[in-house]
Homo-oligomer: 113 residues x 2
DNA sequence: TGAACGTGCAACCATATGGTTGTATATGGG
DNA sequence: CCCATATACAACCATATGGTTGCACGTTCA
């Protein structure tokens, strides 16, 4: 009976969940190179403005993008730190597989680093 | 209007979606070091056998684990290749952010490599 | 052979998700 | 000041998800 579902776990859930949608991944990709307003993003996809706005909100909650008010617009900017956080998590799995995990409790620990 | 939602996209959706659950991540972690039967896994979590069996099925569809029949049991084995596939995808985002993407169309391409 | 075990799967339920439309609020420009 | 624009958010709907219980089926073994 492994101890689970702490705050860190919920955070990781949100991170991977946010990445599990093509439109959202596209938004992240776009805003990593150049920030864009919500309207600009919305124009790119075949769905309502509100739908895109919701996707941005999901990404923001997951930490994958940040929003920066600029007058009446919000500049959406991809957050490379969140990407690296996801990478770090996957790296842990690689480590586990390669038996590179030194402390035994690291095997039991989830993402609460 | 970016072209989206091809087969590769659906596959990536499944991959990240599968990782967006703590119980499933735990199963992956466990089975990366040592294969386990579905029953053994089920004993570890505070939910029904069927629930765990469903989680394993989700992981299997995402390619994160493979199942190997052994008599009446199924040995569940974590698949490091799927982890690496996820890593490769995230690496692409890093590359994009660092402006390391050479071909311009790589910016538009999603995960259909 | 028959009982117990391991697994898969269907049916069901509550809640979450991803979309819609409509409305409210704030900002910018004429 | 008014109007158009940019965003946010609520209400609603269909479908997906994550859990449950119950049953069917193959395998092991006494």
């Amino acid at each position: 009976m492994v101890a689970r579902s702490n705050d860190a776990t919920a955070e990781v859930d949100r991170l991977f969940r946010a990445l599990a949608d093509g439109t959202r991944r596209d938004i992240v990709r776009r805003t990593l190179t150049r920030e864009a307003t919500v309207s600009e993003l919305a124009a790119s996809y075949d769905m309502s403005f509100a739908a895109v706005q919701k996707h941005v909100a999901v990404l923001e909650r997951a930490g994958l993008v940040t929003k920066h008010p600029q007058g009446r617009e919000r500049l959406v900017r991809g957050n490379p730190d969140a990407i690296r956080r996801a990478q770090a998590l996957l790296d842990r799995y690689e480590d586990i597989w390669r038996g590179r995990v030194e402390r035994l409790d690291a095997l039991l620990a989830d993402e609460d680093t």
